[in-house]
Amino acid sequence: MSPLRRFLRMPEALAGTAILAVLFAMALAAPLIFPGDPQAIAGPALLPPFQDWSLPLGTDRLGRDVLAELFHGARTSLAVGLAAAAAALAVGAIVGTLAGFAGGLVDDVLMRITDAFQTVPSFLLALAFVSAVGPSLGVVVVAIALGAWTGPARVARAEVLSIRERDFVAGARVIGMHPLEIAFREILPNALPPVLALSSVIVAAAILTEAALSFLGLGDPNRVTWGGMIAEGRAVLRTAPFLSIIPGVALVLTVLGVYLAGEGVIETTAVRRSLS
């Protein structure tokens, strides 16, 4: 049975993929369906959902279209989640490979740095970084990656430690390849699968962290974010609960989708590896 068919047989993986597909579609279609600024004032303030079909999900306290904000918010959430996870994975894989392959002093230094980052709660680190540098999309990505790269680094190092003793590595040494070339061209690609398995968790965590930062007012104020929408809705929670509930549900579904799809991928690849 091919991995793809095995993947398709898992209902939770399918559900996750479906959610993610919808999400990506939303993010890609946002500028087409809602051209112009999603923060523009589109109608009367605090219009409840399903009242006016030109504003199907209603409007917020300033009269901005909640549906348009939701679509554009999906872009921010996904962009930040994917970018932060990519940065964390890249940094983690490089640090882990270097540490594992070089060993000795380099390994010690790099791993102690990793320890240092791991002892600080990653959300606090992100909070401190954003409030010091000032909120903007790039800063938020870096802030989240700052707390997320240690996991991949440790996994990569562990993998590299076992791979570097294999015969093909010894072979590469014998033919006189440069150590860095061996590390990154021979070892890293083989160490990567378990590191990538972490990606779904990291993406999910990154999306949540971004939402939490925006909720606390540390997101980029010039972009729509779901966390920011929830925070704004909180002031009118009793009179217009939909303003917090709609982006909240979107956030839950996104994280769930990323996680389920990621689990599905891991399951299928894990079975394949154990079979081989």
């Binding site: 923060q39 300033l62 104020p221």
Partner: protein
């Protein structure tokens, strides 16, 4: 005593109250104030320094005005809008060089020592003039305070100082603290700053960080039979949404300073047992202002400033952001001020086409992307409404081709960015009008203010005519001539737009119906609450 104990008696009293309220609904009570009881109030901030003579701000007054009293308090019906407190009468000489205060007899400090004119002299010369945020300007020419007897204080000024200004400054700036406690050591480090000693109807009880402040009845208070309450508890509820639920759950009696979000008022006004009160803040008007950095060449152009003024829909701001609990502004003096306000100023109707035409005229033509130029916009973080107005202003500017980038900061960072580093193009600020333009309003437009003074002109605006007008008004002794000068001041500010006044708002209180005698003066939330009581 760190926790509140519930005695049998208070339980009985409480259940009796409950019985009475169910048995006799809707019967008007003969207003004989009931004595006793504990008033629980929501507090949203925890000021470290509680000395109102040093920090004259509403956050401090909210708690310490019950402990430390001023010479006079604002009043709805008193002469010149004042009611006597520690001073019984006040009078200025025609040359503006001296002002005489007759003080109340038989007043005692909370530690039992008698209150005398020496305390007033000490507070004025050692604290209000050199240390107080607002007193520094108002009392800058105060030379000496003579004390011919224990109950007379004569303020001597080096330069003529309008008595109208001194009078208008009394409610906020004249907190008297005890000389015998403050005369030793450094005033800023005195422990009484955190546990104030005063003459007021309540004594400082205790403070538990993050939990509550407790004030207890001063049994030696000079007011006959006052105060009625035994205790006031300020329950710290930093989360704005929790004040409404605490009121509904009958955990607190009162949430002042709009602790209940405006959007919740409609709902909460229908909750039985609660009342929404819009009175009692007339003397505490906040102004929603767009601060402008005139160092930006585009913003130094009057046409651009006029265009921005025309682009702002003030009615939308009042209706949507303040939900009607505000008024549109015409200039730097709020409409509800009885002495100085004039409507006879240039106004800027909401007119996007005109704004666009003005910008075209000024030479800032839209680029291919529809944008003329970009700005940095810093909304002050103190109120939900200032932030929301920032969001709105960004949209309003987009409609006239100005691309505004929002920058959100926390309070210290905002103050540093705007008032010290001048790292802004437009900022949204909430200055307070304090009954006289010379106290905290002229400073917003006058030039020559050193960097780093918060809530002052840090936008680099310089207008020699306006500066001369402000200087002349500050020396004019005749009340009506002085008032006329401030009317001229409003005209010039509205014409030249050193800043743009958008709206004026005050706060809303929500209280249980049993709380009586609230909102009975224009600064009620920050007055002494001696006559406040809990009805049966």
């Amino acid at each position: 005593m760190s926790d509140f104990t519930i005695s049998r008696r208070t339980m009985l009293a409480g259940s009796a109250m409950l019985l009475a309220s169910t048995a006799m609904p809707g019967i008007g009570w003969a207003q004989t104030p009931r004595r006793g009881g504990r008033l629980v109030v929501a507090a949203d901030s925890e000021p470290r320094n509680l000395n109102p003579a040093i920090v004259a701000s509403n956050g401090v007054f909210f708690i310490s005005s019950k402990i430390v009293e001023t010479l006079a308090e604002a009043s709805f019906d008193g002469k010149d809008g004042l009611a006597p407190r520690l001073a019984l009468s006040w009078e200025g000489t025609a040359d503006g060089l001296s002002a005489t205060f007759k003080l109340r007899e038989g007043v005692k400090w909370h530690d039992g020592k008698p209150f005398t004119s020496a305390d007033v002299a000490f507070s004025a010369l050692q604290i209000w003039k050199p240390l107080q945020n607002l007193g520094r300007t108002v009392f800058k020419d105060l030379d000496a305070v003579e004390t011919p007897d224990d109950l007379t204080a004569v303020f001597k000024f080096a330069k003529p100082t309008p008595f109208q200004l001194i009078r208008n400054a009394l409610p906020a700036l004249s907190s008297v603290v005890p000389k015998h406690i403050y005369e030793t050591g450094k005033i800023e480090d005195n422990p009484a700053n955190n546990a104030p000693v005063g003459t007021g109807p309540f004594k400082f009880g205790e403070y538990k960080a993050g939990q509550y402040y407790r004030l207890q009845k001063n049994t030696d208070y000079w007011g006959k039979d006052e105060p009625y309450l035994d205790e006031i508890i300020y329950q710290v509820l930093p989360d704005r949404t929790s004040a409404a639920s605490a009121l509904e759950a009958e955990e607190i009696h009162l949430a002042a300073f709009s602790a209940v979000p405006l959007a919740d008022l409609d709902r909460i006004s229908k909750v039985p047992g609660l009342k929404v009160i819009t009175k009692g803040y007339e003397g505490l008007t906040y102004q929603l202002v767009v601060e402008i950095n005139h160092r930006r060449k585009e913003l130094a152009d009057l046409k651009v400033r006029q265009a921005i003024a025309h682009a702002i829909d003030k009615d939308f701001v009042v209706k949507t952001i303040f939900l009607g609990y505000a008024a549109t502004a015409t200039g730097p003096v709020p409409k509800n001020d009885p002495q100085f306000y004039t409507a006879d100023v240039p106004t800027y109707a909401f007119d996007v086409a005109k704004a666009n035409a003005l910008l075209d005229e000024a030479g800032y033509i839209r680029g291919d992307d529809g944008k003329r130029f970009s700005l940095k916009l810093l909304p002050a973080p103190y109120f939900n409404e200032t932030r929301q107005f920032g969001d709105y202003l960004r949209q309003a500017l987009a409609a006239i081709g100005i691309d505004a980038e929002l920058v959100n900061n926390d309070s210290p960072a905002h103050i540093k960015a705007v008032y010290t580093d001048h790292a802004f193009d437009l900022a949204v600020g909430p200055p307070v009008f304090r009954g006289d333009p010379a106290i905290s309003t002229t400073i917003l437009v006058q030039s020559g203010i050193p960097d780093g003074v918060p809530f002052s002109n840090q936008g680099g605006y310089k207008n020699a005519d306006l500066d001369a007008l402000i200087a002349r008004a500050s020396e004019t002794l005749d009340t009506s001539a002085r008032t006329e000068l401030y009317k001229e001041f409003q005209k010039q500010v509205a014409a030249d737009l050193p800043l743009i006044n958008v709206a004026e708002w005050s706060f809303i209180s929500v209280a249980r119906e049993t709380v009586e005698n609230i909102a009975n003066n224009p600064r009620w939330a920050v007055s002494n609450w001696a006559d406040t009581y809990l009805a049966n």
